[in-house]
Symmetry: C2
Subunit: 228 residues, 2 copies
DNA sequence: AGTATATTGGCACTCAGTGCCATTGTCAAC
DNA sequence: GTTGACAATGGCACTGAGTGCCAATATACT
């Protein structure tokens, strides 16, 4: 993964916005055209996944419907997995942005809560989120592909948290723990929100965080382990 | 994934033990032979991964060194990813077993703690854990492959937790939350344990759980969200 | 117009993964 | 010892993924 694509200058910021046509402020014409092709491929692919299934859709199919050559497909996405993980880049952007937005003195537990709520709402508002979740729920291989960039995501989020708590010793495990917690909590929220009504995601988020509190802060008497 | 392999009767319990030669109590001769081939392939593969890299190792290489045909490789493992995820089956077994071992009245927070410690120690004692972690740390594609069965793992663990808290309404999010928490905490523990000394993993586990407590149970004044 | 550069498409190649069938090995019954 | 049933293996051929290379085309800049 993470191969060098020839075509796009794919700066992460470029990929955050969806349509690539309007609101193209600081983008050159070339970049906007590339973005256009990229979303064309993505739209063609997700449509086909929904129509005839994830495994059954070949890259030839996608390229044909998107109106590009097979060879060009691989210049915009490294693989079919890469397509499903497309949203992960924007997701990582939301997360790091939300963490960075917190004031310096803000306790980490509060940074965690704010990040969870803000990112949940941002993703819930995004049309791509729903489409991807539907495909992932239907086809296990698609779900696996979607999560194929977890490592990169984790690294970026960890770096953002580490930046917030800068000034501690290097051996501190805090950034790792918050990152794991944040990502797993968000995953639970998305799943519950998607499976049930998909109404207001902040309600779901509150439920999940309340459950977490009940779980961790219940009895802390047994902080050290003794064998049974 | 999860294709039907022709050869092996691969019951999950069969795969938990490592060598497959000794301590073969309730296994037929055929099953033990299959297990032998399976571990031969696995050994050959991990050796090659360590020698010449994960991506550079083809399935032909693995089959040749293991002394089986290319076609037979695919009867024991569905893919190279499947090989890296081989340990996930035993891992899931450890987790469900640890959860089930807790007495019925045990509060979930305590089940969580016990499971984390027990599974961490079991995995740390297993020779395969170290080997896999070394490869995964070195090659990103291998790490990705290793996590390719997260969905199955999650389902099994969730089911085990749900069994423990049986008697609640179906809308309860608790099993989802504990599962996410358990898996992410264990991931942090393994990583920290592997990167640092790899001494006593229960020390690492205590550090991580202490960090978690500090994080979640810090100030709970802001249980409901208000926009800034 | 004319040149440098970016993008694309086509071709050929390796490797992953699968279906099909012939061969071999194993075990039991006769 | 032979025969027959059945599991395991190996070989072959095929589709699809992914990549390198080069020619053709489009775009930008002078």
């Amino acid at each position: 993964m993470l191969r060098c694509l020839t075509v796009p200058n794919t700066s992460p910021a470029t990929l955050v916005n969806e349509r690539g046509i309007d609101e193209a402020s600081s983008l050159t014409l070339q970049e906007r055209k590339q973005q256009l092709v990229r979303t064309a491929i993505w739209d063609a692919a997700t449509d086909l996944f929904a129509e005839k299934g994830y495994d059954e859709t070949t890259i030839d199919d996608i390229a044909k419907r998107a109106g590009v050559s097979r060879r060009s497909f691989f210049r915009y996405f490294t693989s079919k997995s890469d397509l499903m993980a497309y949203g992960a880049i924007g997701y990582a952007g939301y997360l790091t942005e939300a963490i960075r937005a917190c004031p310096a003195g803000c306790p980490l537990s509060e940074v965690f809560r704010r990040t969870v709520f803000q990112v949940a709402e941002q993703c819930a508002a995004h049309p791509r989120t729903r489409k991807i979740m539907e495909i992932a729920a239907k086809y296990p291989a698609a779900k696996e592909a979607q999560q194929s960039r977890t490592a990169e995501l984790q690294e970026r989020v960890e770096a953002a948290f580490a930046r917030h708590v800068a000034g501690q010793n290097g051996e501190d495990l805090t950034p790792h723990v918050v990152t794991g917690l944040t990502l797993s909590v968000l995953a639970v929220i998305f799943r519950a929100w998607f499976e049930h009504g998909q109404q207001d995601i902040s309600v779901t988020a509150n439920q999940v965080l309340a459950t977490l509190d009940r779980l961790v802060c219940h009895d802390k008497s047994q902080g050290r382990r003794t064998d049974d």
